[in-house]
């Protein structure tokens, strides 16, 4: 499948009073047409910032895009002007945010907020946009869409709001949908509904999806490939089956160990990862995961391992082969 988005060596930093924060440190990945890519990692490991960087939504200052490229259909998004980006945002690349409670404008009706995108990008007049908005709300499973249109966000439940956000995101049939932890703020049954909804829409529209989450369980049934991020680095990149069956980075192994599973016996305990993610002010010497790693060797504290291919479609950034204990 042709590549639709290629991110190369993306680096994002923030200037703060405490020092330079190294939020994203040279990540590279590709997204193919119609594919779903999972991005996994703890809070504060650069998942959202890397996506906002691509969209040109990092406020600069204090943010700095220190380097890299984000090639969308072979043109670099990072070099585009605000005006050029405006025509891509929402039309070609759309985004769904984590908290539907705060991502809808409280004083504007749902219909206005969805219709605005349509009028902006699809050259529709108010009537056409209204008509289309009803269809979109129906697509995302909101009952009585012709009435829901004139409701304000506070009249919607959390799940309905996230559906409305999704309707807004898919309004212009985007090529890429970036979903930034869209189910984190919802309860479990609603989470499942939203995942199903996105899957259905993906197949209907044929869009590629980048799904950011810290829940590996959601990714399993949704994504084809998974990127695991830690401290602004990609530490493992593999097909979804490889990640679950054959995780090779100690961080991924720990994440999976911390995940509750149906087939676990009652005696087994969930294993938490000791310690905290590193403070990103100033880059640590060596591997950023070394202080929390079970497999740590001397070299880890000296040199940060590069992302290397260990099998077809499987890359990790680790000095240690966790299966044999040998250095790679």
């Amino acid at each position: 499948m042709p590549t639709i988005l290629e991110v190369k060596n993306l680096q994002t930093r923030f200037r703060t009073y405490d020092g330079l924060v190294y939020a994203v440190n040279g990540i590279s990945y590709e997204l193919n047409e119609g594919e779903t890519l999972g991005v996994v990692g703890e809070s504060g490991c650069g998942k959202s910032v890397s996506m906002l960087s691509i969209m040109g939504l990092i406020p600069q200052p204090p943010g700095i895009i220190a380097g890299g490229q984000a090639l969308y259909r072979d043109s670099d998004l990072l070099k585009k002007s605000e005006e050029e980006l405006r025509h891509i945002r929402g039309k070609e690349i759309a985004m769904v945010f984590q908290d539907p409670m705060t991502s809808l404008n409280p004083v504007l009706t749902i219909g206005f907020q969805i219709g605005e995108t349509l009028q902006l990008h699809m050259a529709m007049n108010a009537d056409q946009a209204r008509q289309r908005t009803v269809e979109l709300l129906e697509m995302v499973g909101i009952s009585q869409p012709d009435r829901a249109l004139d409701n304000y966000p506070h009249q919607f439940s959390g799940g309905m709001r996230q559906r409305a956000m999704i309707a807004m995101a898919i309004a212009c049939m985007p090529q890429i949908l970036i979903a930034d932890e869209p189910t984190t703020a919802l309860d479990v049954t609603i989470q499942a509904q939203i995942v199903e909804l996105v899957k259905r829409l993906r197949d209907e529209i044929g869009m590629a999806i980048i799904w950011i989450t810290h829940d590996l369980g959601i990714i399993a049934g949704l994504a084809q490939r998974v990127i695991v991020m830690y401290a602004g680095f990609i530490v493992e990149h593999a097909s979804v089956d490889e990640v679950y069956d054959n995780p090779r980075h100690p961080y991924t192994i720990s994440l999976l160990g911390a995940l509750p599973r149906v087939d676990m016996s009652r005696e087994e305990r969930l294993v938490s990862i000791p310690g905290m993610p590193p403070n990103l002010i100033g880059l640590p010497k060596g591997c950023p995961f070394a202080p929390r790693c079970r497999f740590v060797v001397d070299r880890c504290r000296q040199e940060n391992p590069p992302l290397i291919s260990i099998a077809p479609n499987h890359e990790i950034a680790c000095w240690v082969n966790v299966q044999t204990g040998d250095l790679q």
């Binding site: 945002r89 929402g90 705060t102």
Partner: protein, 316 residues
């Protein structure tokens, strides 16, 4: 549904009744109605508007401006319920026509202040950086100039620059425009600061990032997405601004720099009364009372709006 109704007749009836949730405007009106002083202010204001507008149907403007020195300085009587002024004009008719001008000045000056204040505050708060720096220093500079001094100088300098004109079927003194503009350009500063502070906090909200994410332009974000979220403090400030603009007009007119005769305003009627404070108190009592009632009514309404538009106010 039917079974629930049977099981819990009293409670279910209410709970099951399909009630549309109230819109923010309906909620605000509901809170406003419970504010007794605000409702009083609203009725008073309505009555004053009926008085000044309705007056035009009772007396022609010619009558209000008709000079007859033969009946000058007459005390209130049947023929002239509010008395007559120093050149024999009917004070009742003049308070009606003067009120139109005073209210017009109040509303128009606030409109000018709103446009300037919202534009400067919005640009400043939304863009930040050097734009904010320049605009806010300018705002502070304006605040540092004593208002009355600025008004007097501006009124004196611009006083006769604009010709009289006709609108709404009556002749207006050009000085009305001058007064509107100078009051407007002298009272936007606090509004600009309020708008700026609103924009500063609102632009960081996630729904603004979401709006940017759909490709909405900066101008659309400022005026469609952020501004409606900050209408409450703007409306309150503007309402109170109308009262203070009417007062300001009265000051300037009292100093003889305001709207020129024969066009009446409550302010320049007071100026006329200046020399007869003790001998003919009806000259200042009626226009003074009008100003007092109007400012009072507007301030009550403003207070009520402040409470009604604050979502944290509880509806008891």
């Amino acid at each position: 549904m039917a079974t629930a109704r049977e099981a819990l007749p009293g409670i279910a009836e209410e709970a099951l009744a399909t009630r549309e949730p109230l819109t923010p405007t309906q909620l605000a009106w509901r809170r406003f109605r419970r504010h007794k002083m605000a409702m009083f202010g609203l009725f008073l204001l309505a009555a004053l508007i009926v008085y000044v507008v309705g007056g035009a149907f009772v007396f022609p403007e010619k009558f209000a401006n008709y000079v007859d020195t033969g009946i000058k300085l007459q005390a209130p009587s049947q023929a002239h319920p509010f008395g007559t002024d120093a050149v024999g004009r009917d004070i009742l008719a003049r308070t009606m026509y003067g009120g139109q001008i005073s209210l017009l000045i109040g509303l128009a000056a606030v409109s000018v202040a709103l446009v300037v204040g919202v534009a400067i505050g919005a640009l400043s708060g939304y863009y930040g950086g050097w734009i904010d720096g320049v605009l806010m220093r300018f705002t502070e500079a304006m605040l540092n100039i004593p208002q009355l001094f600025l008004l007097i100088v501006a009124a004196k300098y611009l006083g006769d620059k604009i010709h009289n004109f006709r609108a709404f079927g009556r002749e207006f003194s050009g000085s009305v425009i001058v007064i509107i503009v100078i009051i407007g350009f002298d009272s936007w500063m606090y509004l600009a600061r309020i708008v700026r502070s609103q924009f500063l906090s609102l632009k960081e909200q996630e729904f603004i990032t979401a709006a940017r994410c759909t490709g909405t332009s900066n101008l659309a974000i400022m005026f469609y997405h952020i501004l409606p979220n900050s209408v409450a403090p703007i409306i309150v400030n503007a309402t109170l601004g109308v009262a203070s603009a009417i007062l300001t007009e009265a000051y300037i007119s009292f100093l003889g720099l305001g709207v020129h005769q024969p066009t009446a305003t409550w302010g320049n009627m007071l100026e006329d009364a200046n020399r007869y404070l003790e001998t003919a108190p009806w000259l200042w009592f009626f226009p003074g009372l009008m100003i007092l009632l109007t400012v009072l009514a507007i301030n009550f309404v403003g207070d009520g709006l402040r409470d009604a538009l604050d979502p944290r106010t509880m509806v008891e």
